[in-house]
Symmetry: C2
DNA sequence: CTGAAAGCGCTTACAG
DNA sequence: CTGAAAGCGCTTACAG
């Protein structure tokens, strides 16, 4: 393996100069830089990340924590984040919690991440008080996406879940529905994670504004999965007197609901309308009406906001990005308020007017 | 941040001993180990990965390369791999190629990975000759999952794609179908990636064994996506004289096909039967008949095969795994032949007998 | 703009 | 079973 002093020797300069030239520091003459780059190229030199990190104190790595990479929203976010990070010269360390409380604690509460990454991105990660303490001790920059409990000092990128749910429910109301059920997230996350409570709130608000009283018997707690939607719908139907419409807190729940309805001999939307939130890849295929949210854009934007103050990663000869300009005087911009990205109603075939009785 | 000499001082031993005790090396007395662990615990010590890697020459990190993390198979594989790696004390560096040829080359052909990871896992990654050369120069252990072009010296975990396709096609033949279309993968990957060519072969073999001649006009090339399946089906229908059944090379293609059929006013399975491969999360919801393949199990198994010869990762006090025993005499076992995991036909509602004409 | 030298925090022969 | 010391391959003040 070629090391930095091989390059230095070939280029006829010191290792310090090689280091500077390769990282694009401005204190290197053009001629010298050219020679160094040529030598590095010729020797196929790549810096040793370990050595660079140890000496430089930066890891050029970002930890990305998601609940479940296999769920549409998280996969889509990670894909966008991955592209941005690698393009910026950063590595992506993936942590998939997989619903295992023990794993969450190991990732968030140990000093593990501290010397391993320069920054942390938490995607919809439930955070309990002890986690917040641990994160504060880590003292690393971070950002959250769609996370209910925000981390003090960290920016957050998300949608307005309350408004999204209101729009969805309003769509059903506008079609003439009055018995509108809601299927939402895991009650176990209740304390720490607000996506599903926000969506429930929007649902209830829309009903109240229409002069209706939310019926607890139509309000189901489940999981953000197809299976969760399926089970909740089965239970809902078992209660008798089915709703004419279901607002599912996410498209995966909605898909499960559609199956359960079909299995029960009910047609969508003739017997029961269904609307979700997300605009999952498959929603168009299934004809599912939904509130579309920009998942990839949230990931991209969050990655950018996270990296901007860090500047470029640890780089080799193929660095292709310069640090983002800071504000005047070199001050970082003030902590941004949560960035709220827009959602929009996408009407497909799963919603329609209730049957005239 | 506590460093190793803080722990050494508190425990009253040398840093070398701390290092050994924390990594579970056998050459430390029980009493000493206890003291060291207690000191580390008390100081909340975590090793510096950079320093450990630089000194030890191991990164405790595995690169996982996937075409698209958002596709069901790859997300499911990564989830299983992530769990295994982290449980074994390894970090997971994620590379999502996203269909960008340039990215593939940057990941595979530069010396980038070399000092960054201890091993590489390539999931269904197209490999051209130049990539193979580059990988050989990297001289790192690796494993492939479902990758068409195998890497010399690397084991491979996969299913038998030819057999899976044969079974799928046979299912349609057994139902009485004779005009059976096939929708397969991207022709651009033809040279380097054999999943879709294998599945096409199985399809053709099954037809021939049934005494039928494969009809090129029923054989569509597309992409392994919902949209690809949709488009190919639209084109297929535009050719006139539609098939009575479609064998889609994966479930996502099958889903796109189902939509296109529905949009064209054709019922599944009454007018056209559809079968896929995968057993995607949504296939049950959609009633899609498919050839199920064990995605998570392939990931888990590949991770285990990859790590076994490496032993435990770089560890802190929370190491929870010992290196796997080697064969007698310390020799590694001979390179394993490809490990073929079983698939199975899952009959749902999307396939049935052709209409009697 | 450039270089000599210290230092980042570990692990690993080597010696005992 | 344990320790002193070298060394892993960079980056960073510091000096010029």
């Amino acid at each position: 393996m070629t090391r930095i002093d091989d390059v230095a020797r070939l280029a006829g300069v010191s290792t310090a100069t090689v280091s500077r030239a390769l990282r694009g520091l401005p204190t290197v003459s053009a001629a010298t830089r050219r020679r160094v780059l040529a030598a590095a190229e010729q020797l196929q030199y790549a810096v040793s990340p370990s050595a660079s990190r140890l000496a430089g104190g930066r890891t050029g790595t970002v930890a990305v924590v998601v609940p479940r990479i296999t769920r549409w929203f998280f996969g889509t976010v990670v894909e966008a984040v991955e592209e941005f990070l690698h393009h910026s010269g950063y590595d992506l360390l993936l942590y998939n919690l997989g619903g295992r409380e023990q794993v969450r604690q190991r990732v968030l509460r140990t000093a593990n991440l501290h010397k391993r990454v320069d920054a942390i991105m938490l995607v919809a990660t439930p955070l309990r008080p002890a986690d917040l303490t641990a994160l504060a001790e880590l003292d690393l920059p971070g950002i959250t996406i769609s996370s209910g409990s925000t981390v003090p000092g960290w920016p957050c990128v998300r949608i307005d879940d309350v408004a999204a749910a209101r729009t969805a429910t309003r769509h059903l109301l506008d079609l003439g529905h009055r018995r509108i059920a809601h299927i939402s997230g895991d009650p176990a996350d209740e304390l720490a994670f607000t996506t599903h409570t926000d969506r429930r709130r929007g649902y209830q608000e829309a009903l109240r504004r229409a002069g209706l009283r939310p019926d607890p018997r139509l309000d189901m707690e489940s999981q953000f999965t197809i299976d969760g939607g399926n089970r909740a719908t089965v239970e809902l139907l078992a209660r008798g007197e089915p709703p004419t419409a279901i607002f599912a807190a996410c498209d995966e729940i909605a898909m499960g609901a559609m199956t359960a309805l079909r299995d029960a001999g009910l047609r969508v939307p003739q017997d029961v309308s269904v609307i979700g939130v997300d605009d999952h890849d498959l929603s168009a295929v299934l004809g599912l009406t939904t509130i579309a949210q920009p998942a990839a854009e949230q990931g991209r934007l969050a990655a950018r906001m996270l990296l901007d103050p860090l500047g470029v990663g640890i780089v080799g000869p193929d660095a292709d990005r310069v640090p983002a300009p800071r504000g005047p005087g070199g001050y970082s911009p003030a902590p941004a308020p949560p960035v709220i990205l827009p959602t929009r109603l996408v009407v497909r075939e799963s919603t329609g007017p209730p049957r005239a009785n």
